[in-house]
C-alpha cells in the first residue's frame, strides 16, 4: 500500500484520497461537498459517524465504478461514504 500524498500539498479532501491513504481529520466543511444535504446537516451526519477533527482515517476500499464509494476506517470503525460527501472532510 502506498501513501498517495504530495509533499507540496499535504492538505487534501477525503473525497480525493486513494485507497491506502491514511491521515487525520483537519476540518469539516459541509459546503465543500455538492451534497443534497445542507452543509450543517452533512457535518452533523459526518460527526455522528465519528468524523471529528483529530480522528485518524484510512481509506480501506474503493468501489468498482469511479472508485466510488469508499470504505474509510475512522478510528476503530469502518464507514462507507460516497466521494461526493467525503469532499466535506479535510484531511492531512
Amino acid at each position: 500500500m502506498t501513501i498517495d500524498l504530495h509533499e507540496s500539498d499535504p492538505v487534501r479532501l477525503l473525497g480525493q484520497a486513494r485507497r491506502g491513504f491514511s491521515g487525520t481529520v483537519q476540518a469539516l466543511i459541509g459546503g465543500n461537498a455538492e451534497s443534497s444535504l445542507s452543509a450543517a446537516e452533512l457535518e452533523c451526519r459526518l460527526i455522528e459517524l465519528g468524523f471529528v477533527e483529530g480522528a485518524r482515517v484510512e481509506v480501506l476500499h474503493e468501489g468498482l465504478i469511479g472508485r466510488d464509494p469508499i470504505a474509510v476506517r475512522v478510528e476503530n470503525i469502518t464507514v462507507a461514504v460516497r466521494r461526493r460527501e467525503a469532499m466535506a472532510v479535510v484531511v492531512i
Partner: protein
C-alpha cells in the same frame, strides 16, 4: 402485592447488539406491531427480574443521535421523551453499546443524558472486547458518565445477570433520580463538542485494542474487492435463488398437496352445494394459495437474516451503490429489491431502511416488477404448454431460457422505470447521500435467526392471509353467483357475475389477443397472480386433481395461439396483479396516491407490452 409493570426502553446505535440483548432478555415473549400512524415496527418483550419484578422492554430503532432524521429515529426520540402517542414515559432507559466500538455510543449517551430519564449503560459484547485486548475501567466510566454501567454478553447464558440485578436495584428505589428534560436538537458545534467529550472520557477509561479485528479486515480485503467482491455477491445470490426455487419445492408441493387433499375431503364429506363450494374453493384454496409460499418466504428471510447478522448486507449495499446509482437507485435499495424476488410485500416493507423519501418511493414503485414467486406457477404453465422443450445452441434448454428471459425483462424494466422516474421527477437534484457503517463481522446466532424468521413468517401469514383470504371469498362469490339456471348445459361460471365482467372487459383486451376466458381469469388474478392459473382451470371447466396443471396446459395449447400465450406472459411480467402488494404500498406510503400511481403505470406497461408482443408474434406467423 403485585408491583406495576416496569417500563424499560432499549436505545443504542445501529449494530450495537441491541436486538440480541433484547432477545436474550425476553426470549420468545415478544410482540411485534406498528406504532400508530407510522410504519415503524414496535417490538415489545416481557421478562421477570430475579426479584420477581415484571418488566416490559421496548426495542427502539437504532440511532446515532436523537435528531430524528427518519421515521424510525423519530420514534426513538419520541418514546424516550414520552411524546409518542400511546406510549408511557419509560421508567428506565437502557443504553446499549458495543464494547468494541464505544466512540459513537458514548456520544449518544452524553446526548441522551439531557433527556433527564434514569439511564443505565450496558457494555454489550464484552467478551469480544476482552478477547481483542480492550479493557474498560467500568467504575471510572460510570463516574465520568454519571450513570450506572454494567457489562453484558447477550449471547452467553448468564451474560445478562449483572444487568438484571441492577434493574432490580433501580426498580426498588422509590423515586429514581431524574431531572427536567432539557434536550434540544444538537447544533453542529454541540455535536462536535459532545464527540470530543466522549473521546476524552474514552481516553481516560478505556485502553484501546492492542489487536484490532484482523479477521474483519482480512475478510473485507476479499469481499470488498472491486471485482472479486462483485463475483462473490453474484455467487451468494445464485445460491440464494437456487435455494428459493429448488429447496423450497418439495415443501411447497407437500403444502399444496395437503390443501388439495383437505379440499377433496371436504368435497367428499360435505353435501354438494354452496357451503361445500365456499369451503373448498373459497376458504381452503384461498388460504392454501398463500400458505404455499411460506417455505420460499422463510428461505429468503433465512438468507437475508443470516447475511444481515453476519454483517454482509452493508457490504452488499457498498458494492452495489454505484452500479444501482446508474439507474437512479440508492445502494440501500439492493436489499428490498432482492427480497422482492420472493415476494414484493416483504421487499416493500424492507424499504424502511432507506431514509430518503424520494429514493424510498422509487424503490417501492419498482419492487413489484421484480419477478416474485407468485409468477412462477403462471410462467411454468404457459412455458410448458407452448415452448418446445428443445436444446438451443447444443446445450441450453429453450424452456429454461425463456424463463430466464422473463426474469431479465423484469429486472431490466425495473431499472428503466427507475431511471425514467429519476430523469423526469428529480434529475437536477443531487443524489441522497450514502453513508453507512460497515460493522465488524459476527457469527450469526441461531436463536436470533429463529426468532427473526418466526416473527416475519407470522407477519406474512397475518397480512397476506387476511387480504388474500377476503379477496378469495369475493372471487368465489363472483364466480358462483348468480347460479346456473336449472337444466343449463354450459359451465356454471358462464352465468356468473365473473363471466359478465369478463365479457364486458373482453373488447378492451381483444387487441392483446385475450379472449373472455382470459379476461375472467385476470380478475381473480388481481388478488394473487397464481390464482389466475386456477381460475383458467375453472373457466375451462376442468376438474381439479393431480394432473390438473398438465391438463390445463394441454387444453390451453389447443385453444390459444402462440401469439396469445406470449402476450399473456408479457402481461404477467408487468401487470399489477396482486392486491396485497397494492395494499402494502398504500400502507407504507401513507396514502392512496402512490398505490394508484403504481397500479396505473404497471397496467399501462402491461397493456403496451402485450400489445407489442401479440402483434409482433402475429406478424411472424404465430397468430
Amino acid at each position: 402485592m403485585e408491583a406495576p409493570l416496569y417500563n424499560i426502553v432499549l436505545v443504542g446505535t445501529p449494530n450495537c447488539g441491541k436486538t440480541s440483548l433484547f432477545n436474550a432478555l425476553t426470549g420468545s415473549r415478544q410482540k411485534v406491531a406498528n406504532y400508530p400512524g407510522v410504519t415503524v415496527e414496535r417490538k415489545q418483550g416481557f421478562f421477570v427480574t430475579p426479584r420477581g419484578r415484571q418488566v416490559s422492554l421496548i426495542d427502539l430503532p437504532g440511532t446515532y443521535s436523537l435528531r430524528g432524521r427518519s421515521p424510525d429515529e423519530e420514534i426513538t426520540r419520541d418514546v424516550v421523551l414520552g411524546r409518542a402517542t400511546g406510549e408511557t414515559l419509560p421508567e428506565l432507559v437502557l443504553c446499549v453499546a458495543d464494547a468494541t466500538n464505544l466512540r459513537l455510543a458514548i456520544r449518544l449517551v452524553l446526548e441522551m443524558k439531557h433527556t433527564g430519564r434514569p439511564m443505565v449503560l450496558a457494555l454489550n459484547m464484552f467478551d469480544i472486547a476482552t478477547r481483542r485486548g480492550i479493557t474498560v475501567d467500568v467504575p471510572a466510566l460510570s463516574a465520568a458518565l454519571g450513570i450506572p454501567v454494567v457489562t453484558s454478553i447477550a449471547v452467553r447464558k448468564g451474560g445478562t445477570d449483572e444487568l438484571l440485578r441492577l434493574t432490580d436495584a433501580i426498580a426498588a428505589e422509590a423515586a429514581p433520580a431524574t431531572h427536567e428534560n432539557d434536550w434540544q436538537p444538537h447544533s453542529v458545534a454541540e455535536l462536535r463538542a459532545t464527540q470530543r467529550e466522549a473521546d476524552r472520557i474514552i481516553k481516560e477509561t478505556v485502553s484501546l485494542p492492542a489487536r484490532p479485528d484482523t479477521w474483519t479486515a482480512r475478510v473485507d480485503s476479499v469481499v470488498l474487492h472491486p471485482v472479486f467482491g462483485l463475483v462473490i455477491l453474484a455467487a451468494i445470490l445464485f445460491v440464494m435463488f437456487q435455494a428459493v426455487f429448488a429447496w423450497a419445492q418439495p415443501v411447497m408441493e407437500l403444502i399444496a398437496g395437503g390443501f388439495e387433499a383437505l379440499g377433496q375431503w371436504v368435497q367428499a364429506t360435505l353435501p354438494a352445494g354452496l357451503l361445500q363450494s365456499f369451503i373448498q374453493n373459497g376458504v381452503i384454496s384461498g388460504v392454501g394459495s398463500v400458505l404455499v409460499f411460506l417455505p420460499q418466504i422463510i428461505i429468503i428471510f433465512l438468507f437475508i437474516l443470516l447475511l444481515e447478522d453476519f454483517g454482509y448486507m452493508a457490504r452488499a449495499a457498498f458494492l452495489m451503490d454505484r452500479i444501482m446509482g446508474g439507474a437512479g437507485l440508492h445502494g440501500r435499495a439492493f436489499i428490498p429489491l432482492l427480497s422482492s424476488f420472493a415476494c414484493a410485500i416483504p421487499g416493500i416493507m424492507a424499504t424502511r431502511v432507506i431514509d430518503n423519501r424520494r429514493d424510498r418511493l422509487t424503490t417501492i414503485l419498482i419492487a413489484p416488477l421484480m419477478t416474485c414467486s407468485a409468477r412462477i406457477p403462471v410462467y411454468t404453465l404457459i412455458i410448458a404448454a407452448f415452448i418446445p422443450a428443445k436444446q438451443v445452441w447444443g446445450w441450453i434448454n429453450l424452456q429454461g431460457l425463456v424463463m430466464f428471459g422473463l426474469y431479465v425483462i423484469g429486472i431490466a424494466s425495473a431499472m428503466a422505470v427507475s431511471a425514467l422516474i429519476k430523469f423526469f421527477m428529480w434529475r437536477d437534484d443531487a443524489p441522497a447521500p450514502f453513508m453507512l457503517e460497515l460493522p465488524d463481522y459476527k457469527l450469526p446466532r441461531l436463536k436470533s435467526i429463529a426468532i427473526g424468521i418466526y416473527t416475519r413468517a407470522m407477519m406474512f401469514l397475518q397480512r397476506a392471509g387476511t387480504t388474500i383470504f377476503s379477496m378469495m371469498v369475493l372471487i368465489w362469490f363472483l364466480a358462483s353467483f348468480p347460479q346456473a339456471p336449472v337444466g343449463a348445459t354450459d359451465p356454471a361460471i358462464d352465468y356468473s357475475l365473473a363471466a359478465m365482467i369478463g365479457r364486458f372487459i373482453e373488447p378492451v383486451l381483444a387487441p392483446l389477443g385475450f379472449n373472455w376466458q382470459i379476461a375472467v381469469a385476470l380478475i381473480p388474478g388481481m388478488a394473487a397472480r397464481e390464482v389466475a392459473v386456477a381460475a383458467l382451470g375453472t373457466v375451462y371447466s376442468i376438474e381439479g386433481g393431480k394432473e390438473a396443471a398438465e391438463q390445463i396446459g394441454t387444453m390451453l395449447a389447443s385453444k390459444w395461439s402462440l401469439a396469445t400465450a406470449l402476450s399473456f406472459l408479457a402481461w404477467f411480467i408487468f401487470a399489477p396483479q396482486c392486491a396485497s402488494t397494492l395494499a402494502v404500498i398504500k400502507r407504507e406510503t401513507g396514502g392512496w396516491r402512490w398505490m394508484w400511481i403504481t397500479f396505473f403505470y404497471m397496467l399501462a406497461l402491461a397493456y403496451v407490452a402485450s400489445l407489442i408482443t401479440y402483434n409482433i408474434a402475429r406478424s411472424m406467423g404465430a397468430g
